[in-house]
């Protein structure tokens, strides 16, 4: 009788094998796409975004990196990180070490949602009776800049547990990445995959491999720090779509998908961009 049931299980697994490729197959195909499109990019250099494919722009970026504008935010973030809340606790009580990037984003099975590092920062505040930070810039970007700086060199290693809800969140992020939106009718992949290396006006489209390794970012256009979700919202506005909420489900799932696509690369935030 035991043999029969084993056979039964075997059959059912084969039948219900997902028609969709697995996340790991997606990642391998994603990586191969960029490595064949930009063979000149050295191993692991995609974490430097468009500067991995534009030598002239990279020179200017390196001049800025000599004394990058995000250093101010790192210092402010460290101060906030160590300043006790009203109840005497501080961020050090929520996180065993500030170097947390390698643990995020992760699938929280109890709450059934993707948790990003920025969301965890705000949750720590709320748990300690403090008001959460604004979700795109300011203190959240500063604390995140400090934690990202401390995490430099950690390997990107997003896990998708064997939980249908986690896989669904990954698939939603993936779908958003390939879905056309806004009056200009663009999908992220139109510019950052099939258009990567080409120009929109005078801007060269950065490749998506390594896209989420170097956040938060000081953009000279903003003259300010900004989180990854601020950039997602900015890009959707560019294509004339109404952006989703920062730290909301859509952008958290997109970050889950995009960061998974860069598994194996290194975190090198915070970053400086144009």
């Amino acid at each position: 009788m035991k043999k029969l049931t084993q056979l039964g299980i075997l059959v059912s697994v084969a039948v219900s094998a997902p028609a969709l490729a697995s996340p790991e197959q997606d990642r391998a195909t994603f990586e191969k796409f960029y490595e064949s499109r930009f063979p000149q990019v050295a191993e692991g250099d995609f974490i430097n975004g468009v500067y991995s494919i534009l030598p002239a722009a990279r020179e200017q970026w390196e001049a800025i990196e000599e004394f990058p504008p995000y250093e101010v935010a790192i210092e402010l973030g460290e101060e906030i990180y160590n300043t006790p809340f009203a109840n005497g606790k501080s961020f050090a009580d929520c996180f065993d070490t500030p170097a947390q990037r390698e643990n995020y984003p992760y699938w929280d099975s109890e709450r059934g949602k993707v948790v990003t590092m920025e969301a965890a920062i705000n949750e720590c505040l709320v748990e300690n009776g403090e008001k959460p930070f604004k979700t795109k810039k300011g203190k959240l970007a500063e604390v995140s800049a400090y934690m990202s700086y401390e995490s430099r060199g950690q390997t990107i290693n997003v896990q998708i547990p064997d939980d249908p809800a986690a896989l669904a969140a990954y698939e939603q992020g993936k779908q958003l990445y390939y879905t056309k939106n806004g009056q200009l009718n663009f999908a992220c992949s139109d510019c950052h995959m099939y258009g990567s290396g080409l120009n929109a006006r005078a801007e060269t489209m950065s490749p998506s491999l390594g896209h989420t390794s170097h956040w938060p970012v000081y953009r000279s256009k903003w003259q300010d720090m900004g989180t990854l979700h601020r950039r997602f919202a900015g890009c959707m506005t560019n294509v004339r779509a109404k952006p989703y909420k920062a730290l909301g489900e859509e952008y958290s799932n997109l970050e889950y998908f995009l960061t998974y696509m860069s598994n194996g690369l290194e975190f090198n935030g915070p970053g400086a961009r144009k």
């Binding site: 800025i64 200009l184 004339r240």
Partner: protein, 147 residues
């Protein structure tokens, strides 16, 4: 006209120009800074616009600026330099900055400047009382890819 007499001369002007803060160090060369055109600014700053282009002056500037608000520039020379000045011809006031080499300073200055539009950038080095220059066209584009 060494620095001390320069200050005394300008000191008079400052007092006359009512309650400007008393500057303790090198006065701000306001005429040169306010000049609306490079040659005039050079004349105000150095007393002459007689400058010769020289390979001894190295100006590191981008061909296309990533962002017109933050254009990284580097001026360097192996000549013994007394002063280095940077001009952006098309800026409202072309003289962007000037640096005076003190004791032991080498002929090197790096900074980040704003450029309103594509323009010629000129670096001028004063060495042995003479002016040497290098220049490069820097393109500034309208940023952004959509919106």
């Amino acid at each position: 006209m060494d620095r001390r007499s320069l200050i005394r001369a300008l000191g008079g002007a400052i007092v006359a120009a009512a309650a400007l803060p008393k500057l303790a160090w090198a006065a701000w060369s306001s005429n040169a800074m306010k000049a609306g055109e490079s040659t005039a600014a050079m004349n105000e700053l150095f007393g002459t616009a007689d400058v010769v282009a020289s390979a001894e002056v190295k100006l590191k500037a981008p061909e296309i600026a990533e962002n017109g608000a933050v254009v990284p520039l580097e001026v360097s020379t192996d000549m013994p330099a007394e002063q280095i000045a940077i001009f952006v011809d098309k800026n409202p006031s072309p003289l962007v900055m000037t640096a005076t080499m003190g004791a032991g300073a080498t002929g090197l200055v790096k900074t980040r400047v704003r450029m309103g539009e594509s323009s010629n950038v000129v670096a001028v080095v004063k060495s042995g009382g003479k002016l040497y220059s290098a220049s490069q066209e820097v393109k500034v584009t309208i940023g952004g890819c959509g919106g």
